[in-house]
Amino acid sequence: MKSFTVLQGVVAPMDRANVDTDLIIPKQFLKSIQRSGFGPNLFDGLRYLDEGEPGQDCSKRPLNPDFPLNQPRYKGASVLLARENFGCGSSREHAPWALEDFGIHCIIAPSYADIFYNNCFKNGILPIELDAATVDRLFAELYASEGYSEEFEVTVDLANQTIQTPSGETIRFEVDEFRKHCLLNGLDDIGLTLENAEAIRAYEQRWRRESPWLFDSVR
């Protein structure tokens, strides 16, 4: 698993609620059997004016000039500022794979869909949940910084659970201890679970005695 410690980066806005994972990475790109290479198709339907196909060279496609990630001021963005219920819909982990491949390592939003939120941590992406009023304020500040990207860079520090904004403000955020620990250290969570192999075996034996019909039924 990739680790996340401190990130200093440009913030880009994704100013709509209920951004679904179909929007983050449309289905035609889910045919890939790889874990990487999804970045050029992140937000494909919003970013380009034509319909994207897998395997295509995206550098020649017509860009939608209104889409923030296409605008020079958000070039190289690594933080996405978003709205409620980000990542709803399909469980596709291709969504965080696409974000990560594009270079987005942190998301700030008032709320996330459960499956997407969990998938982020598995891929070195930190999804930060802040109250809606604070997110509103960040959007306002971001839009007010009219010039180029450096004007709205934030520093996200996972160990200290803080975000420093350009105005000098420090915002604290909450994150689950176990997830924080895994993300900071880039731990292999399967390896961690397997450290409890004895407990799993003990449970399994007892469960098999209590519910024998759940075992060996499929084969």
Binding site: K27, I33, C88, G89, S90, E93
Partner: protein
């Protein structure tokens, strides 16, 4: 101390290890696998030199990418024309063979959409914990199981450890009492629920559906309800086990038999919330009040009764909601103030894990029998959820009713629900669809989806626009 909810019971019986930070290691009884979200998980296992923890807990079937067109399908995996799709389906076959996991391959008569096949084969049983790399795994909760969608990293995690690390969710009860009007179905009920609580209404919750309406619903209807729990933001939807559940499971190919069956049934009888169970949130609806529902926008919560009128953004105070309404109207090519019944259709899709079971096809066939699809509807697909549903429908002559009406009768698969194969909408086309998501581009680039029940979709196919199936 108050009693336990069904979800509490399912959770508690599967805790391997409780951790101080509130998370727990949860044992998984069944993992369902399909071609889209599993290749990277198998690859991960290989790279780390790991073996599946328990082979007989896994079951695989290709569904998302498989062609549903009869001719293309007849060639099996090798006959899939899109090379990228073919490789993905082939990779599932290869992985299942290499790791020795049971798979119903593409032309196995039992193949179908994973959420239709699981319950139908008895691979899904009450009391289980079930995962699948697919958000609509919530469907299986209709049998009193704790079933949820997971990402690919977790698919690998479950393959390797038979466990998942999770935080327990909160409990929500959606109670629908009273009686449904004739022509109003489970799909309308669940869309009405989503319209009321919103697509994030169930986030961090497991939703239990209860009340007289749910108790008197068929298992098919219950599956439709739980299927769309995720569209209300809840990973898990559950319904208490009762006689209907047990009768449904009895005799299924992978269901327990003999003495084991009796033991199982005795345990399953406990799978309901205690009378004094505590729910963090309760939502109540009256069955009589629910009308046939149609979504008009790009989120399942953008839904109205069939006699409704499209909203006017100018009257919405909340800026976020106003912007979302404007954007949705624009994407859908619709105007505020327009009646739902004035929406003209280019396509109709009857299928998906929400509504492709035998009862759904019967309802649609009853509406189109002896009639023709309207001239402006260029394409009407009927895609059964599984090979078994297909054979049953053919035995009842439903396929003939559909084809006589001018509809296409297809092979089982996800098809136009997400349009990963060639079954997709053209840009700007409006489709009456029995699936579960009306997101932008879901059924094809620029496609416009309206979610409805099978009966409503069938009536819309004949009329060429939405009509109230209660007056059919």
């Amino acid at each position: 101390m108050s009693g336990q909810t069904l979800y509490d019971k399912l959770w508690q019986s599967h805790v391997v290890q409780q951790r101080d930070d509130g998370s727990a290691l949860i044992y998984i009884d069944r993992q369902l696998i399909h071609e889209v979200t599993s290749p990277q998980a198998f690859e991960g296992l290989r790279l780390a030199n790991r073996q599946p923890w328990r082979l007989d807990a896994n079951f695989a079937v290709p569904d998302h990418n498989v062609p549903t067109e009869v001719h293309e399908r007849s060639g099996g995996v090798a006959g899939i024309t899109d090379p990228v799709s073919r490789l993905q389906v082939q990779t599932l076959d290869d992985n299942c063979r290499d790791f020795d996991i049971l798979e119903f391959e593409v032309n196995d008569v039992r193949q179908g959409i994973v959420h239709v096949v699981g319950p139908e084969q008895g691979v899904t049983l009450p009391g289980m914990t079930i995962v699948c790399g697919d958000s609509h795994t919530s469907t299986h909760g209709a049998l009193g199981a704790m079933a949820q969608g997971i990402g690919t990293s977790d698919v690998e995690h479950v393959l390797a450890t038979q466990c998942l690390v999770q935080q327990k969710m909160k409990n929500m009860l959606v109670r629908v009492d009273g009686q449904l009007q004739t022509g109003v179905t489970a799909k309308d009920v669940v869309l009405a629920v989503i319209g009321q609580i919103g697509t994030a209404g169930g986030t961090h919750h497991a939703i239990e559906f209860g009340g007289e309406v749910v108790r008197s619903m068929s298992m098919e209807g219950r599956m439709t309800m739980c299927n769309m729990a995720i569209e209300a933001g809840a990973r898990v939807g559950v319904i208490a086990v009762d006689d209907a559940t047990i009768e449904y499971v009895r005799g299924r190919p992978y269901a327990p038999r003999g003495e084991l069956w009796d033991q199982a049934v005795a345990a399953w009888r406990e799978l309901h919330s205690d009378a004094d169970a505590h729910f963090d949130r309760i939502v109540e609806l009256r069955g009589e009040d629910i009308e046939p529902q149609v979504t008009w926008g790009t989120s399942p919560e953008m839904v109205l009764p069939v006699n409704g009128v499209l909203p006017n953004p100018a009257t919405i105070d909340d800026t976020g909601r106003r912007a979302a309404t404007e954007r949705a109207l624009h994407y859908m090519g619709l105007k505020s103030g327009m009646s739902i019944t004035d929406i003209k259709l280019d396509a109709v899709f009857i299928g998906s894990c929400t509504n492709s079971r035998i009862e759904d096809l019967r309802a649609a066939a009853a509406v189109v029998e002896g009639r023709k699809v309207a001239a402006n509807v260029k394409r009407a697909l009927v895609v059964p959820g599984s090979g078994q549903v297909k054979r049953q429908a053919e035995a009842e002559g439903l396929d003939k009713i559909f084809t006589a009406a001018g509809m296409e009768w297809r092979e089982p698969g996800c098809s136009m629900c997400l349009a990963m194969n060639s079954d997709k909408l053209g840009e700007g086309e409006h489709c009456a669809s029995t699936s579960n998501r009306n997101f932008e581009g879901r059924q094809g680039f620029g496609g416009r989806t309206h979610l409805v029940s099978p009966a409503m979709a069938a009536a819309a196919a004949v009329a060429g626009h939405f009509v109230d199936v209660r007056n059919w």
